[in-house]
Subunit: 335 residues, 2 copies
C-alpha cells in the first residue's frame, strides 16, 4: 500500500515518469495486486480476458481531464484515482450489473512525478476493489495534460439489463446514494472561505461513493428503469423521461436534505435544494419501481412517473412545475 | 457516409463542438449506424451490453494523443479515427480473438470543428466494421488537447487465448501483415522532401491495416504465442522472449523487403531493414508455431525460438547477434 501522498506539489528531486519510463510505471501499478478468480488473463499481455459467465458483458467508458474533471491542487492522486473508477463503476451499477473488471488508460506529461502516477494507480485499484472488482488492464502514454480514461466491465448475473426506457406511468421514482453532496463540496472549494466543519461534503466531492450494490438490488427487485446521477438529478431523470416517453415528477417534500448539506448551503448562501436537484458527480442511482413493495430498503421514494404532456420541456417536473434553475452539468458549457 | 474532409484547417464559420454541444456530437456519431446482432444494448444507455457467447471476454485499451500519436496536419480525421480503432483491434487479434465491440472516449477542445469530430467518428465506425464489429458505446468530454481512448472487446470463440508466454525452443517465428511501412511513411513526413510516388507507405502510416483474421487463423492453427507489432518487431518479440523465457532469433534472409519500402529507404537515405526490424505502428501480428506445417498461408516464417543465454540483453537476436540500432518506440523518450 502506498500512503496517500496528499495534495502538495512536486519537488525537483523526485523521479518523473519520463525518467523511469512507461514500463516501470505499469510495473509499479500491477506489482503485488491479486486478481479475482473472474480475471482469466490479467495485465501484461495484449489484452485481458475476463469471465462473462452468463454470456453477456456490460461495458461503459468515461474520460476525466485535469482542470476539467479534477484538480491536483484540490484532490490527492489517490482521491482522483478513486473518482475515475467510481464514476465508471456507477454506470455498470446503473444497468443492474456487478462490476467485473476495469481497464484504465493514463495520459500524463513527461515531467509528472512517479509519486502522482503511483497515487492515481493506487486509488484506482482501491476503488476497483471497493466495487467488488479489479484493474485488469491498462495503458500509459505521454500527453500534455493529465487524462484518465476508464472502461468498466460488468456481469449481469443472468438478469435483464435495467434500461432507461422501461419507466411506466404510475411507477414510483426512487434513488439510492447521495444527491448534492459533490456540488456542495465543489461550491466550497470554489468559494474563498473558511471550510472548517465541512469535511463530509468536501470529501464527497473528491471521492464519490456510488451505491454499487443498490444497482444489483434494484435489478433483483424488478426496477423498471435505472440510471446514475452524473450530471444532476433533473438532468439524468430527463434521460429516463426521454427514453421512456413519460414525465418524471419529483415531490420535494420527499427529499430529506441532510444536515451536512444544509450547513454547507448556509455557509455558501444558496438553497440546498438546488444542489440536490441539479448537482452532479455523486453518482447516486435513480430509477423507477412498480409499487412501494418493490422498492428495496436502501432506496428512497421521491416522486412518481406521470403522463408526458404536449411540452417535452416539462418532461421532468418538481411538484408539477419545471424547475427554474439550471438542470445539470454539461461537458462544453463555457467555464 | 461522411466524405473524408481532408487535412485542411478549420474555417471561422463552421460549427464547433461547443456550439452544438456534447449530446449533438454523440447523436451525430450514432445516427443511422446499424449494430450487429452481438450488440444486445447499443449506445444511449448507461452501458452497452455485448454478447460473450463462450463466457469470456477479451478486452484491451489504448490512448492516442494529438501531437504524439497523430497530427491533424498529416492525417484526416477519418484516417485518425481508423488508426485509433485499428491499433486496439490488433490487440484483440493478438489474443487470437475476433473483435466484438469497441468503446470510444473522445476528449477535444471546445473550438474543435464538428467536421473533425464527425470525421473521427466516421473513421472509427468504418474501421470497427472492417474489424468485423461496431462502436457500441462512448463518451465525449472537453479537453485542452485532442485525445482518443479506445477499448476493444473480443470473442475467443471457445479457443484458449494465445499468450506471449507460450513460445518454446524450436518453434518457428512468423508474422502476418506489414513491417516497417508506417515507419517509412513517418520518415517521409518528417523529411522536407518530395513525397511523390510514396503514397503506399504514407497511407500505411496514416491508417494501419492490421491482419485481423490472421490472429484467429493463428489461434486455430495452434500458434504457441502471439503479439502485435506496435512498438517494433524486435521490441515486441522481446515481450514474447521475456514472457516465455526464450531467445527469439530472426533470420534477415527470410525478411523479403517489398519494393515500396526499398524505394522509400533510398529516398530518405537509410537501410530499409532498420524500418522492418524497429518500425512500430503497422500492427502486424508476430507469433510462434510448433513447425512449418502449423504455419497458416497468410504467415511468413522469419526465424526460430532458441535457448536463452546468460545475457537477457540478447533475448532477441538477428542472425545470432544483437541488433545495433534502436529496438523500438517508447512512450516517454524525448522527442
Amino acid at each position: 500500500m502506498i500512503d496517500d501522498p496528499g495534495t502538495e506539489s512536486a519537488t525537483d528531486t523526485e523521479p518523473t515518469v519520463a525518467q523511469v519510463g512507461e514500463f516501470e510505471v505499469i510495473s509499479r501499478a500491477v506489482a503485488d495486486r491479486v486478481q479475482p478468480p473472474s480475471t482469466i488473463v490479467g495485465p501484461g499481455d495484449d489484452a485481458a480476458v475476463v469471465a462473462a459467465p452468463d454470456g453477456r458483458i456490460a461495458a461503459s467508458t468515461d474520460m476525466l481531464v485535469h482542470g476539467r474533471h479534477f484538480r491536483l491542487d484540490w484532490s490527492s492522486p489517490v482521491q482522483i484515482g478513486r473518482k475515475a473508477i467510481a464514476q465508471n463503476g456507477a454506470d455498470i451499477a446503473a444497468m443492474g450489473a456487478r462490476c467485473s473488471g476495469f481497464l484504465v488508460s493514463l495520459g500524463c506529461p513527461a515531467d509528472t512525478p512517479v509519486r502522482v502516477t503511483d497515487g492515481l494507480n493506487e486509488g484506482m485499484w482501491l476503488e476497483a476493489v471497493a466495487a467488488g472488482s479489479a484493474i485488469v488492464g491498462g495503458d500509459v502514454v505521454q500527453s500534455p495534460e493529465l487524462v484518465i480514461s476508464v472502461t468498466a466491465l460488468g456481469d449481469l448475473q443472468g438478469r435483464a439489463p435495467v434500461l432507461r426506457s422501461g419507466a411506466r406511468v404510475g411507477d414510483l421514482i426512487a434513488y439510492a446514494g447521495r444527491l448534492g453532496w459533490s456540488a456542495a463540496g465543489l461550491a466550497l472549494l470554489l468559494a474563498d472561505m473558511d471550510r472548517t466543519g465541512h469535511d463530509a461534503v468536501l470529501d464527497a466531492h473528491r471521492v464519490p461513493v456510488p451505491p454499487y450494490r443498490a444497482g444489483v438490488g434494484a435489478a433483483e427487485a424488478g426496477a423498471t428503469s435505472l440510471t446514475d446521477v452524473s450530471d444532476g438529478l433533473l438532468s439524468d431523470l430527463g434521460h429516463i423521461a426521454d427514453a421512456s416517453n413519460v414525465r418524471m415528477d419529483i415531490d420535494p417534500e420527499l427529499l430529506d436534505i441532510p444536515a451536512e448539506l444544509r450547513s454547507a448551503a448556509t455557509a455558501v448562501g444558496i438553497d440546498s435544494l438546488d444542489w440536490v436537484l441539479t448537482g452532479g458527480e455523486d453518482h447516486a442511482l435513480v430509477g423507477t419501481f412498480g409499487d412501494h413493495s418493490a422498492v428495496p430498503a436502501e432506496w428512497t421514494v421521491i416522486g412518481r412517473v406521470e403522463h408526458l404532456g404536449d411540452d417535452r420541456a416539462s418532461r421532468v417536473t418538481v411538484d408539477g412545475r419545471v424547475h427554474s434553475g439550471r438542470s445539470g452539468w454539461t461537458s462544453f458549457e463555457s467555464e
